[in-house]
């Protein structure tokens, strides 16, 4: 998995490439916590290149969502691939995450 971070004044965009599973979820966890600690409260996770996410990965998304929501920030997802969107659908995460089709549309939120 590769993590690609893009920062601008308003938002930090993190692009996830490859598989997010038990072997590497802590990399994402570290990156997200770093941003939260340095008061970057607006985070956009671009999942366009993420092929697979395990429940351990989902847990990190939820953790970030909870922490950022409590800080009055925004944690937004975009570009979910079909199989991942299905997982989100089944697990009901579509109802708790703000999910957009692509970065362009997601960026309007901030």
């Amino acid at each position: 998995m590769n993590l690609n971070e893009i920062k601008n004044d308003k938002v930090v965009i993190i692009e996830i490439e490859g598989r997010l599973d038990t072997t590497n979820y802590n990399q994402l966890e570290k990156k997200l916590l770093e941003n939260i600690e340095s008061n970057n409260k607006n985070l956009l996770i671009d999942c366009a290149k993420m092929d697979y996410v395990s429940s351990s990965g989902l847990r990190i998304f939820l953790m970030a969502l909870k922490k950022i929501t409590s800080l009055n920030g925004k944690f937004v997802l975009c570009g979910l691939q079909e199989n991942i969107a299905e997982i989100f659908e089944i697990s009901g995460f579509t109802s708790i995450f703000q999910i957009f089709e692509n970065q362009e549309m997601a960026l309007k939120v901030f």
């Binding site: 351990s56 847990r59 199989n83 089944i90 697990s91 708790i96």
Partner: protein
């Protein structure tokens, strides 16, 4: 823990290799030096020998010629006197007497005139003075019986018009010595023309010549000899050969073509130095012959050089060098053996010690190295290795025991976890309305999947399947909490949604790690077949209808439990007909990966379910499990895997 390593020692050890290679090369060097020295010394000796031979022959020839010249001068002078004298018989006799009398080396002298020259009436005129028993006697030779005109001593000088030495001959009367006759042709002036009148001869003893040649000694067995114009032995240390053999008859007897060649060259007046296999009659050894002509009389002197005697010094020298080299080699051999022993014996000890270390004996004593060389370094490395290995093994034993402890604890944890979920099938042998089978296989020792079922009252079956995010020990703890809470919140009048909401509230409280559980709870009324269920983000189960239709439960879009306390969960109702089956599973089934990271997929699961609609609960789970195993092949199980089927008989 340690496999004893078999150390194979080559039959030809280091010491052997050192000894053979170094010794062989030094021996070779010695051999080359030795051979070169031998060859060089030999060539020097040969060169010197050749020079000596030339000098010796040249000196001998010149001395012999000097003597011969002095002897020749006597008859030559008298010949001149006769040629220039008006001679009478008395005068001639007087001259002839003088020739013999005052020249001790001359045994006899004769004057032979041409037929009828001295006296018209006398054909022969040949007075001859010779020594007999210390006195001089005069004889007149020449008669019909002794017709001297045809004799060689007369004919040859007359024809050649110069003095000639005769072939040697043995004269018994003249004191048993070898003689040679010197014949000088006489001429007289008749009317301005030189006319041959006769021959003056002098019989010369060659005793002195024999003594001279015999005095030539070369080294120990070398000698000189002389042959006449036709090869007859004139002098030779072996007396019986003299006058009895020629060089050619000796060559014949020895079957030596080389000697025959030398003989030819000698009588042709050549001089040379030849190496031949000349069988010296006394020693039979290889010899060289140097030869040179005596031009005065056409004879030839030969000197035999016993080469072996000259080479004796070279051979002695070589032998001594060889002995020295041999002694040197032995010393070198001893030194090499000593050095290689000093190398290999600590090596052997180290090898022995390393074997012991390999067998686990870290306290084995290493050999004491006193030198400060590479061997010492090796020894120090060994000591270091021994120390480090001992430390490592202690460390390893500690870690291993720690790991074994954790493993054993995990095994116990697994037993506890497995003990928390029902695992006796069929679970309700007295209930005819339902049959149920379930399978849980964690990816690690313990896992985060769970299933549970129990009766509430007499006619209500409560069942649940869930999947904690993540796996391993954290997930298993969360699973245990969930499973315990489930039993405590499921009351007789509770509904599935109430159970889920209650569970969610408890799990969400202080859940800093955001662990969550996808959870499906169903309550089946055994009499009516009414199924109430609530799904918190879990994979929707499948309903396999008694008519063979496979239906997926609706997607409720409810989020998993353990995240937000306030969430209210809803519930739905379906009715089961007799023979309808429920199939519940966790994503460990549909997301089972193979080596190429290809997931098993929901589609493949559905197709297996459709193919096995008549299967019993256990058979169905077995079929899916086998098909998943087929897909995964040799790849390690990636996630916890759980399945549960319930069939409703009504």
């Amino acid at each position: 823990m340690f496999n004893p390593i078999k150390i194979i020692r080559s039959k030809k050890g280091l010491a052997f290799k050192l000894i053979t290679s170094i010794f062989a090369s030094i021996a070779l060097i010695f051999l080359v030096i030795f051979l070169y020295n031998y060859d060089f010394s030999k060539s020097i000796v040969e060169k010197n020998l050749k020079m000596n031979a030339e000098n010796l022959t040249r000196n001998s020839v010149s001395q012999i010629e000097k003597i011969l010249y002095s002897i020749q001068k006597i008859p030559d002078n008298y010949a001149k006197i006769i040629e220039n004298t008006d001679y009478s018989k008395e005068t001639l006799e007087k001259i002839l007497q003088q020739v013999v009398e005052i020249n001790p080396e001359i045994y006899g002298a004769a004057l032979a005139f041409e037929p009828n020259l001295f006296d018209k009436n006398e054909k022969y005129f040949m007075p001859y003075y010779f020594r007999k028993e210390g006195r001089l006697e005069l004889l007149y030779l020449g008669s019909e019986r002794y017709d001297y005109f045809t004799m060689d001593w007369y004919q040859i000088p007359k024809e050649l018009k110069r003095p000639v030495w005769s072939e040697p001959y043995f004269d018994e009367g003249a004191g048993n010595t070898i003689m040679s006759t010197y014949s000088v042709p006489l001429y007289r002036d008749f009317n301005g023309q030189q006319q041959f009148i006769g021959i003056l001869t002098a019989d010369v003893s060659l005793d002195w010549l024999q003594k001279f040649v015999n005095s030539i000694k070369v080294n120990q067995t070398g000698y000189g000899f002389m042959i006449s114009q036709n090869g007859t032995m004139v002098t030779h240390p072996t007396t019986k050969l003299i006058m009895n053999e020629t060089i050619f008859s000796i060559a014949e007897a020895q079957n030596s073509t080389q000697l025959r060649e030398i003989g030819r060259d000698m009588i042709r007046g050549k001089s040379s130095f030849a190496e031949i296999e000349y069988h010296n009659l006394t020693t039979g050894q290889l010899s060289w012959i140097a030869y040179a002509p005596i031009t005065v009389n056409g004879w030839s002197i030969g000197i035999v050089f016993p080469v072996k005697e000259f080479m004796a010094d070279v051979n002695t020298l070589s032998l001594r060098i060889f002995a020295l080299a041999l002694a040197g080699l032995i010393i070198i051999l001893i030194v090499i053996i000593g050095i290689s022993r000093s190398i290999t014996s600590p090596l052997r000890s180290l090898s022995h010690a390393s074997k012991k270390i390999a067998e686990g004996d870290f306290n084995v004593e290493l050999p004491d190295i006193k030198t400060k060389d590479e061997m010492k370094e090796l020894h120090d490395s060994f000591v270091y290795m021994q120390k480090k290995l001992a430390e490592y093994v202690v460390n390893l034993q500690e870690t291993t025991s720690a790991r074994e402890k954790i493993e054993s604890e995990l095994r116990i944890a697994r037993e506890i976890q497995m003990g928390m979920i029902p695992h006796i099938f069929p679970p309700f042998p007295n209930l005819s309305e339902i049959d149920l089978f379930a399978l849980l296989r964690p990816a690690k020792e313990v896992g985060g999947d769970l299933y549970d079922f129990f009766l509430i009252g007499e006619d209500k079956l409560c069942f649940a399947i869930g999947d904690v995010s993540g796996k391993g020990v954290p997930a298993s703890l969360f699973m245990a909490v969930t499973r315990t809470l489930l039993r405590s919140v499921s009351t007789i009048d509770g509904s599935p949604s109430a159970v889920v909401s209650s569970l969610n509230k408890s799990l969400s409280y202080n859940n800093e790690s955001s662990m969550f559980v996808t959870f499906f709870v169903g309550m089946l009324h055994l009499k009516t077949g009414e199924l109430k269920f609530s799904n918190a983000g879990h994979n929707p189960p499948f309903m396999i209808r008694n008519n063979g239709k496979v239906e997926m439960f609706e997607i409720t879009k409810s989020i998993p439990i353990g995240l937000f306390e306030e969430i209210k969960y809803t519930e739905s109702v379906v009715h089961l007909q007799k023979g309808d089956k429920l199939f519940m599973y966790t994503d460990g089934v549909t997301e089972a990966e193979n080596l190429d990271k290809v997931l098993y997929s929901t589609e493949r699961l559905v197709s297996v379910l459709q193919k096995n609609i008549t299967a019993t609960t256990k058979q169905l789970i077995q079929c899916v499990d086998d098909d998943v195993a087929l897909h995964v092949d040799k790849y390690a199980q990636s996630d916890d895997l759980t399945m549960m089927t319930i069939v409703f008989y009504g």
